[in-house]
């Protein structure tokens, strides 16, 4: 048998551990479906306005939602926006929000956390006190204040969430690095004259990255929730933009139907709302499976 590289072997074992877990299978399946919908959105729901595909097409301006029919298979929401179109293109919006926010937040957080943890001393102290300050205000509240200062819009919401989100990663990566910094293999590399940057990139980060992966996966979900709430309140996506939170906001006045048929407009809330829940659920299930797979206490059993 050919001897595999230990890192590759470990990686294969991790994959095996992850996919033994039913919640990972459900999570990845859901994610796969969403990714497919996002990727093939132009084929599934051809845009009516090619220059701005995120604008939902609408026929007429009647505020009352219309039930599913031949032309609108999921019905129309308030303002006669087609729910099917909004849901399909909203998938792209959700991925855009999640990947942008988590990507920037994780990158900034990992960089600052690695610098603080590895260098220690005054740099560490200064960076951690700044993090403490930002830590003191809840994500949603601080994001709201920043959005108000920058002006409304989905792009501003994404920037605001990225500006707030990095603080988690700093703390986690720093505490991981503090335990790794003094271990023998790092000391050995230092004595051999490897540069600090190389030690961080090649020896420390690969060992400290697992908790960050778990957190990033959970964060994808919670950032999409926060962004959709900001859209729901009216600070995020403008009216008619294909965004799940904004679609829930459109249907908000129709949660209760006319007397005698109180659940008449269920589709206007349940369809976009269900998309948010399933999308977030997919990431949380994956995060949960990763947590089980990476937990050293459960790993080798």
């Amino acid at each position: 048998m050919i001897e595999q590289h230990p890192r590759l072997r470990e990686f294969k074992f991790t994959l095996y551990r992850i996919f033994r877990n039913p919640s990972a299978i459900i999570g990845f399946t859901l994610l796969f479906i969403f990714a497919g919908v996002a990727l093939f959105a132009p084929q599934i729901a051809p845009p009516k306005y090619p220059h701005n595909p995120y604008l939902m097409p609408h026929k007429g301006f009647s505020p009352t939602p219309k039930p599913p029919s031949q032309t609108n298979i999921f019905g129309t929401t308030s303002g006669q926006y087609d729910i099917f179109y909004g849901v399909v293109w909203g998938t792209r919006t959700a991925f855009k929000i999640g990947m942008f926010v988590v990507g920037i937040a994780a990158f900034v957080g990992i960089t600052l956390g690695a610098v603080a943890g590895y260098l220690g001393g005054l740099v560490d102290e200064a960076l951690m006190r700044i993090t403490d300050v930002i830590w003191a205000i809840p994500t949603l509240v601080l994001a709201m204040a920043i959005v108000v200062a920058f002006g409304r819009g989905l792009d501003k919401v994404m920037i605001a969430l990225a500006l707030v989100g990095w603080r988690w990663y700093v703390r986690v990566i720093r505490s991981e690095i503090l335990t790794l910094r003094d271990q023998d293999f790092v000391q050995a590399a230092k004595i051999m004259g490897v540069s600090d940057l190389k030690i961080i990139l090649r020896h420390i980060l690969p060992n400290a990255i697992y908790p960050v992966l778990i957190m990033a996966s959970m964060d994808m979900g919670s950032m999409v929730i926060t962004a959709s709430f900001l859209s729901f309140v009216g600070l995020g996506a403008p009216k008619g933009y294909a965004d799940w939170g904004q679609m829930v906001a459109l249907a908000r006045n129709y949660i209760v139907g006319p007397p005698g048929d109180p659940l008449k407009f269920w589709y206007a809330i349940v369809i976009p709302g269900g998309c948010i829940v399933l999308f977030v659920l997919a990431w949380n299930l994956i995060g949960d499976a990763l947590r089980d797979a990476f937990d050293p206490k459960l790993r080798r059993r």
């Binding site: 006190r129 003191a136 949603l140 204040a145 309140v233 908000r252 209760v256 809330i269």
Partner: protein, 343 residues
């Protein structure tokens, strides 16, 4: 221990200072013209904007404006709220009881339920009890608060016509407005004021209005508490002292409740600060959907109407609450766990 508290206390002052600078910095991203525009009410006054900027020193250097603002804030003057059309400080005490009331009812349920479910899940690890609670926790964690609140409203208000949004029914609100002398508002919380005034119908009505908000909140927040309790329980049960106790013939209940659960509660204390932050965020969504006019609703409404003084006041308030909670928890933690204290 004293040195520990002093250090934490100094840090608290620093963090609060930092928060205020940060918030003021966010406000200062507005141009002086835009900040002056808040004082302008008619188009004719628009030409006065340069004068207003001079008068209030809106183009002074950052630190001068910051200290001027801080002086007013420390005096208790937080500015004027557009949404409430009264001073921010006064409006705050009007909205605060509504939020406090909901949290007072929800917090004990979250804590007790979370600990109970987590313990249960940890003891019966990998059985159907564990799997069900874990699935429920993940699903609950994935539910956006505002959406879940809307669906509950749809079912229980729309379909069953059981609970309605708001804080109190319209007739009772009108009655209180019309007869201010017969109903004294001691605390601003209707459930308690009703009891103090001997009006049990008001208490019952206010409680009925609390059912949906509190359940929304509990179901969304309880997952965090439960998960930490579960993993704490699993970790403790795998330790040697549990085996020793078993070998000595202690019965299961004693081991679970007296030995393991006590130690497993420690990590729960550390996430309590996170719970407080979550509950602040959660109360925004809950209040917006159930149209309860509390701090969270006020914040969302102010954000939409660009009412910056309110945003700053609430951010500061939440910062203070969060920092003080964390300080208390740290001290509590050091008190419970001697390993921290002696370090």
């Amino acid at each position: 221990m004293l040195a520990f508290i002093t250090r934490r206390f100094l840090l608290l002052i620093f963090v609060l200072f930092g928060v205020s600078v940060l918030l003021f910095g966010i406000l200062m991203t507005f141009s002086p013209e835009r900040r002056a525009a808040t004082y302008v009410t008619s188009p004719q006054q628009a030409k006065d904007i340069p004068k207003i900027i001079k008068q209030f020193g809106l183009d002074d250097p950052f630190y001068i404006q910051y200290f001027r603002w801080m002086k007013e804030v420390l005096k208790g003057n937080m500015g004027w709220s557009l949404v409430a059309s009264r001073p921010v400080g006064e409006a705050f005490w009007n909205y605060f009881p509504v939020t406090l009331e909901m949290n007072l009812f929800a917090a004990p349920i979250v804590i007790i339920f979370g600990i109970w479910l987590g313990t249960l899940s940890g003891i019966h690890r990998d059985t159907w009890i564990d799997h069900t609670t874990r699935i429920l926790a993940i699903v609950g964690w994935s539910l956006p608060t505002f959406l879940f609140a809307l669906v509950l409203l749809m079912i229980f208000y729309g379909y069953f016509q059981l609970f309605s949004p708001g804080v109190l029914s319209d007739q009772l609100t009108m009655f209180i407005i019309e007869n201010p002398e017969s109903f004294t508002r001691f605390t601003g919380m209707y459930t308690i004021d009703g009891l103090l005034n001997g009006r049990f119908d008001i208490t019952l009505n206010a409680l009925a209005h609390l059912v949906l908000p509190v359940s929304t909140y509990v179901i969304v927040v309880v997952a965090l508490n439960m998960r930490v309790m579960r993993s704490g329980m699993i970790e403790e049960l795998s330790k040697d002292y549990v085996m020793t106790a078993q070998a000595k013939g202690a019965d299961k209940k004693t081991i679970y409740i007296k030995h393991a659960r006590r130690n497993a509660l420690l990590p729960v204390v550390t996430v309590a600060g996170q719970l407080v932050a979550l509950s602040m965020e959660g109360s925004i969504a809950v209040e917006v959907v159930y149209s309860r006019h509390g701090i969270g609703w006020w914040l969302a409404e102010s954000a939409v109407q660009l009412d910056m003084p309110v945003l700053m006041c609430i951010c500061l308030f939440m910062g203070v609450v969060f920092v003080i909670t964390n300080l208390t928890l740290d001290i509590l933690y050091a008190y419970i766990d001697p390993r921290i204290r002696l370090n």
